[in-house]
Symmetry: none
């Protein structure tokens, strides 16, 4: 029996264990939905008692990183990131809310004819082409969403000149073209992932996913960008709080 509390300046053992598991999750050794090893097995593998290991899991559960299910096992929780953080908080500049590291990988930028929905939304004439900017959003290094932005050729000509790997699209619009987004309309649907999207996102084709389509308008009300975003269903949830006013006290 040694009963060591905080030895020298180190963190308690169960904090260390939690941290070790945290990185396993972040690094992707443990992916969302995966089942962790048995508590007993984890305990012995960390050279620690069951009670101590459970304290570590307690921490992780409080952070919504895992979920324990009696009789079933311990699982890596699906990250539930507020939708706004992925899309809209760009304006606030603060993308690293909740501690996750959000990065963007630029996949392609090329001109091509728009599909019908895009053409309608941007009210383009026939034969007019659009600039397609494909980007992958990574949370802690793992693909979270695939975003394709469509811009009318006139605007696109300016945008391609900018370094989109360094500058957010909205900033390019504002700095280079003086365009400020004032309003947007968004439609979210539940779809099956197509093969190319699945490949980019690293999941199997046909997997259920959110598809968000958004048209953004400038101050004058003219459509500027059409965004189409895919987010696999196992990586994301939309959460919101509702308050009903006018209820008795």
């Amino acid at each position: 029996m040694n009963g060591n509390g905080r030895v020298n300046g180190r963190l308690p053992r169960y904090h260390q264990i939690a941290e070790a598991l945290r990185t396993r999750i972040r690094e992707g050794t443990l992916r969302p939905g995966a089942r962790l090893d048995t508590q007993r097995r984890l305990a012995t593998s960390f050279g620690v008692t069951l009670m101590t290991l459970r304290q570590a899991l307690e921490l992780l559960e409080r952070e919504h990183l895992i979920s324990r299910r009696h009789g079933l096992g311990t699982f890596v929780a699906a990250p539930s990131i507020d939708y706004d953080i992925l899309q809209l908080r760009r304006f606030a500049g603060d993308l690293s809310a909740k501690g996750e590291h959000v990065a963007t990988r630029l996949l392609t930028t090329r001109f091509s004819p728009p599909d019908r929905r895009v053409g309608d939304a941007l009210s383009l004439g026939p034969g007019e082409r659009v600039l397609v900017v494909a980007r992958l959003r990574l949370v802690d290094g793992h693909p979270m969403s695939l975003q394709r932005s469509f811009l009318p050729a006139l605007i696109g000509d300016e945008v391609v000149r900018a370094d989109l790997t360094r500058t957010p699209l909205h900033q390019v619009l504002e700095r280079a073209l003086g365009i400020v987004i004032g309003r947007a309309h968004e439609t979210v649907s539940a779809v099956r992932l197509g093969r190319p999207e699945a490949r980019e996102l690293g999941c199997s084709a046909g997997a259920p996913a959110f598809e968000s389509e958004r048209v953004s308008f400038d101050a004058a009300g003219a459509p500027v960008v059409f965004d189409r975003v895919f987010i696999p269903g196992d990586r994301f949830r939309i959460t919101r709080d509702l308050r009903y006013e006018g209820a008795a006290s």
Copy 2:
């Protein structure tokens, strides 16, 4: 050594202890800022180990009812204010499709044991049953969504007496029980439809769909209903308008 887990149907010992302390706080035996008895003393007074007592305190601390200070003692916390920045959203009613004829078909109402998510959300004790109300929403005669509402048995007992084919659930709650929903929390995910759900909705199993889970709370903050809604992805979209204030730079 006896290692008793949940004896018969009772709550674990540490839950009971937490509850005992909770009432002491609520009743005013322990006032804000007051120092609780020593952990060791509390443990022996409850006839329990230190570890077990600490689990009880863990619960209370997570509820912000107490605060523990290393080397000083355990104190009753000052009543805390919820700093939630509430996005005020109008209560748009349940899925009011515009213009179309919306009907509701009552499928089943029966009592059954809740699954884990429901039990947690409604904070039910073990063995407690819930009333499950399954309804099919039809738009223009076609199935649009499958809704299962889960109510604690006590409330359910009253609800089953009402004619749910004629009266909306919310009205029953308000008229018969005086319960008014004041707040709700909703989580929307993209899932694959299960076989039973697909059958009711008249589409193929595995089809992508929205799943919305919502907990509604009464004015006092107690959970009243858990709603789980499935909507096939090809029949529905979430739309919203966004406005960017002061977006300039």
